[in-house]
């Protein structure tokens, strides 16, 4: 146990002096965490209305979700779009990061800034622009269109993650492989790629969540049969507060906890690799 009059820092601040800070930060942490967790118990409520704490418990909202063809369809579309865009963004992003790490100069800078653009441009502009172009090319309301847009959004995440990985990677290893007779692609595949796997995985996780949670573009370019889960949730929240959304939210929170844990695990492995 720590003692209150023990010094915290070399400037002789004691824990007692810091009590107000601990209290304030405790409140801020509650503010951050409560909205992420409060929905979970409420989704198990038996009543028509959302209440906390629920007076009776049931699984009826989960049944409503699992039993609804629309919700199931939306879930399937979301998963499909997220998986395909993650694959596209990861492959394209990794290739680009590798190329950009080896080349310097104006052209490389230009390519790099264009590929980071999806992160800079406000999402509403991406949505409006894509909607405008898709309505002329017939890609609106199609899974293909959504996959393309989501891949573009996700590329910068992969570029950053793999770029960071390459920064800590000693390219001489690949040179060594090539001097022993490996072709450049073979050296990349067998020497560099395996060592970049953690960075690639973390980039892919970011890409997946970017697509899985994306609402604004989906709001503009898809509807009906090709609605994604977040798009359906948005419409549902705006029009009526239906506790089914609480059940869906709970499942999405569980997914984000899983992804967060996966991410922390990857980070730990990365640290171990560095030592």
């Amino acid at each position: 146990m720590f003692k209150l009059n023990q010094a915290v820092t070399p400037t002789q601040i004691t824990h007692a002096h810091r009590l107000w800070l601990y209290a304030l930060v405790g409140l801020i942490l509650l503010f951050l965490i409560i909205p992420c967790l409060i929905v979970i118990p409420m989704s198990f409520s038996a009543s028509q209305y959302l209440e906390f704490p629920p007076r009776e418990w049931s699984l009826r909202w989960y049944e409503a979700y699992l039993g609804s063809p629309e919700w199931m369809m939306a879930t399937w579309v979301t998963v499909k779009v997220a998986v395909i865009s993650t694959c596209i963004a990861t492959v394209l992003g990794t290739l680009a990061a590798y190329g950009l790490s080896q080349v310097r100069g104006g052209a490389a800078k230009l390519v790099n800034s264009l590929m980071m653009l999806p992160m800079l441009v406000p999402i509403i502009l991406v949505a409006v622009g894509v909607f405008f172009v898709y309505s002329r090319t017939g890609l609106n309301n199609s899974i293909t269109g959504l996959v393309l847009a989501h891949s573009v959004l996700a590329i910068p995440f992969v570029l950053i993650a793999v770029g960071n990985g390459l920064q800590g990677y000693d390219m001489n290893q690949e040179m060594a492989a090539r001097s022993l007779g490996a072709s450049r692609p073979w050296a990349f595949l067998t020497v560099t790629l395996p060592q970049l796997r953690l960075s690639i995985c973390s980039g892919a996780l970011f890409a997946f969540i970017a697509s899985f949670d994306e609402v604004v573009i989906a709001l503009f370019i898809v509807g009906g049969e090709s609605s994604t889960l977040p798009r359906r949730m948005f419409a549902n929240i705006r029009d009526q507060i239906d506790p089914t959304v609480a059940a869906v939210s709970t499942l999405m929170i569980v997914l984000s906890i899983l992804l967060l844990v996966a991410m922390q695990y990857i980070k730990r492995l990365e640290r171990r690799q560095q030592h």
């Binding site: 909205p35 992420c36 929905v39 490389a108 393309l148 970017a210 939210s249 929170i253």
Partner: protein
């Protein structure tokens, strides 16, 4: 989409290698015809550069087609009328009160949210940077979980908490603190609360990163030189953490300007932000010219702020979310 960007990471290319490229050396010496071997090597190197650069081609083309082309189209729509003649009509339209009021609201909102984020984020990041590793990791989970949870889910949770028959109103009524339910949502206040919740991690993560890199010995040195704890904090720690604060503020402010989701759900139609104006102008009025002009103005404001902050504080560009 979710607030899913890694704010602490940024792309940095490997430092330039020490040896000067053979190609440049040859070219600079003007020795193209000097030695056929050198020349052939230089050509091979040039070829390799292009081969490597071509690896970026698939991604480049995709981003170009799906992002740059539509943006260019928006520029075109905003500045040229249907006959293809240059016109400023769409931009002059932005001076009408209905658009001006939306700019004012957007900047007010961005300012309020940024201010609250600084007030909450600074103490939080400070304590996180001072705690022992284990405790700091646990507290960090409280910051990272919201960061990874869909903005939509969190906005929904705030609606559930803040609405008229929501959790907070019910509790306050039960406790007898209030007799009428408070209007906590579908207004400016509710939107600020929801947006602060989304933005706080974007403030805390760069701040934490900066603070973690401040050498604790500096604080001992300040104490040795006779500074009181608060003097040491103000004159040493605060100053050294300012770049982190600046990048947090930039990030939060810029993201707020283009924010769509939370104001649309928590504003109850009363908080008409810039991005909502863009979508309404298209969805309700079908006025592509005006919407594009709004969009271009938003993009210009975003770029100007990022550029200005970089000039002022030497920041590296960091990304955005919605």
């Amino acid at each position: 989409m979710n607030a899913d960007l890694p704010p602490r990471q940024k792309l940095q290319r490997v430092k330039p290698m020490k040896e000067v490229s053979l190609y440049t050396r040859t070219r600079d010496r003007g020795a193209s015809g000097e030695d056929p071997m050198v020349r052939r090597l230089a050509m091979a190197e040039l070829k390799e550069r292009w081969a490597l650069l071509s690896l970026t081609l698939p991604g480049f083309i995709l981003v170009f087609l799906v992002l740059a082309v539509p943006l260019g189209w928006l520029f075109w729509l905003s500045a040229f009328d249907s006959n293809g003649a240059l016109t400023l009509d769409n931009y002059l339209r932005l001076l009408r009160p209905v658009y001006l009021s939306s700019f004012v609201i957007t900047f007010q909102m961005a300012f309020c949210v940024t201010l609250v984020c600084v007030l909450l984020g600074y103490p939080l990041a400070y304590l996180l940077s001072q705690l022992p590793d284990r405790a700091s990791q646990i507290c960090m989970a409280f910051v990272l979980l919201p960061f990874w949870t869909s903005i939509l889910v969190r906005t929904y949770a705030w609606l559930v908490l803040l609405q008229r028959q929501g959790v907070i109103n019910n509790w306050l009524l039960d406790l007898g603190l209030i007799h009428e339910p408070l209007t906590l949502v579908n207004n400016f206040f509710g939107t600020v609360v929801g947006m602060v919740h989304v933005m706080l991690p974007f403030m805390v993560l760069p701040l934490y990163d900066k603070m973690k890199n401040i050498d604790p010995l500096l604080m001992s040195a300040a104490a040795n030189c006779g500074a009181t704890p608060s003097q040491a904090f103000r004159q040493v720690f605060l100053r050294l953490s300012l770049p982190g604060l600046a990048s947090g503020i930039t990030l939060v402010f810029v993201i707020c300007l283009g924010f769509y989701l939370t104001p649309a759900l928590l504003g109850g139609g009363r908080v008409s932000m810039w991005s909502m104006k863009i979508s309404d102008t298209i969805a309700l009025y079908g006025n592509w010219g005006a919407a594009s002009a709004l969009g271009v103005a938003l993009l210009v404001a975003t770029v100007l702020i990022l550029w200005g902050m970089r000039k002022l504080f030497g920041l590296n560009g960091q990304g955005r979310t919605d």
